[in-house]
Amino acid sequence: MFLKLLLFATYIIFLTLIVIFSYSFIDPNLGYLKDIYTGFAFQNRQLTTVLFVFFLLCFFVYYILFLKFFNKKQLSQKEIKTLICATVGVLIFAYPAMLSYDIFNYIATAKVLFLYKENPYIMMPIDFLHEPLLAFMHAANKTALYGPSWLLLSGIPFIIGAGNFILTLFSFKLFIVIFFLATIFLILRITNNMFSVILFSLNPLVVFETIVSSHNDIVMVFFALLSYYLLSKKRVWLAIVFFLISVFIKFATLFILPIFLYAVWKSINKQKVYWDKIYYYSSVAMYVIFFLSPLREEIYPWYAIWFLVLAFLIPEKKLLLLISIIFSFSLLLRYIPFMLTGNYFGFTPLAKILLTFVPIIIGLGIVLLHKSWRKVCFR
């Protein structure tokens, strides 16, 4: 009991430290937060990287501990909910552009559409020369990158922000967090398994990319999952509508369209749908689009959310689970080269590839060795 309390207390302190650490990444041109700007992350790159790796390792240790505690039945459902609430409640205050500037793109695109009343697929933020966001956002010279579902949805946090940048920033964070919580709720409804809930909701990559960095991938994934859930309840038309909403958020779920259509066909013909297989093949399909993403730009860590949510629905698929967990660790390591050097070129691209795939090779190697060792022992 004491050990558990200690674990919970240190976890909340740990999350608070992440929040403090995140503010060391404030962009020097972000005038709205100039009073708390320190420039620490940019002036002390080595120390910042060491701290980041330390936070990452600690987060994974907590993750593994929580999973172990649950497996030993030492974590109740209420305690898991408390952990999720604590994670959300603390990290919602983290600076969102610690690892990625995407949240500024979301705000800028919403601003083009809802404030300037221009088509964001034609006009770029840079077309509005006096726009204050231009000082610190990174994709000012790009038209809207996301689908129309996202553009329309982003109007909600933008309007709640009422023209105040800080309020808008945090209303976007809150908006994403609501979808995060809704996804967890769906996972529980679909699987009725708290292990899947912990796997997803306390996964460091999911937490970093969703609660801290506020990537909209969670919204796309939520609608895809909702469509599967509705399909399992024989609400075919509603499922199709939500699936389309998902596709028109970020287009990646288009890759699971054949699997979705197969499930629809089975449902319409009143045949049994093997949902575990549907989730498995959907996860594999999302892995495929994930690996194809360098064709467009590069593998971004938050793309892992696409397959993680599906892989965690079926934890009994051990190999998929193992690969997914290792990936969620290794993909976060991709931030290290830039954090350390401040350079996207030179050794950085190769370092990113090595950091992404070497842990997978090591992890799978260890598993194979372990399996063959057990075979030898039991012979």
Binding site: Y116, E118, I122, M123
Partner: protein, 166 residues
């Protein structure tokens, strides 16, 4: 030789504007022409917002100008004259969209420069066409009344539309 270069008239100079006009698209009479026109009309809704409308109208003005120029070259004066009127109307609309954007306090400095560059290029094209076409032309369709086309004055009118933005 030196005196020739010093006193040679300016219209002998190479392109005055770096603005680039599009390639000619479908021409009247083509089976796809009406479909393209319909598509363009539908696209007007896609280009909502005054700055987007500016982009759309200027693109349309460019397109119809190139169409008019090509048709003048093929001596299709009736269609060329129509295309010229469309180009003028879209050019007007581009200007009006910019004015509306200015009322909305949007920064239009860059767009104004683009409009001026476009106007310069349009004037180059229109002036070169004016030197090649007759002042008037009697267009005689097969089964209806003939129409006198005032090509020269229409071209002058188009040039003055462009000059109004300087």
């Amino acid at each position: 030789m030196l005196l020739f270069f010093i006193f040679s008239p300016k219209q002998f100079a190479f392109a005055q504007s770096s603005y680039v006009l599009p390639y000619p698209s479908e021409m009247p009479g083509s089976k796809l022409y009406k479909a393209f026109v319909l598509w363009d009309e539908l696209m007007a809704y896609w280009y909502f917002g005054n700055l987007s409308q500016f982009t759309y109208s200027l693109e349309q003005s460019d397109k119809y100008l190139v169409e008019a120029k090509t048709l003048f070259e093929y001596k299709q004066y009736y269609f060329a004259d129509n295309a010229l009127k469309e180009s003028d109307e879209y050019f007007h609309e581009a200007k009006r969209a910019l004015d509306r954007a200015a009322v909305e306090r949007k920064d239009i400095k860059d767009k104004k420069t683009i409009l001026r560059e476009a106007a310069k290029k349009h004037i180059e094209v229109l002036e070169s066409s004016r030197n090649r076409v007759p002042e008037t032309f009697l267009w005689q369709p097969e089964k209806s009344q003939p129409t006198m086309l005032s090509i020269g004055s229409n071209l002058s009118q188009s040039i003055s539309v462009r000059k109004s933005c300087f």
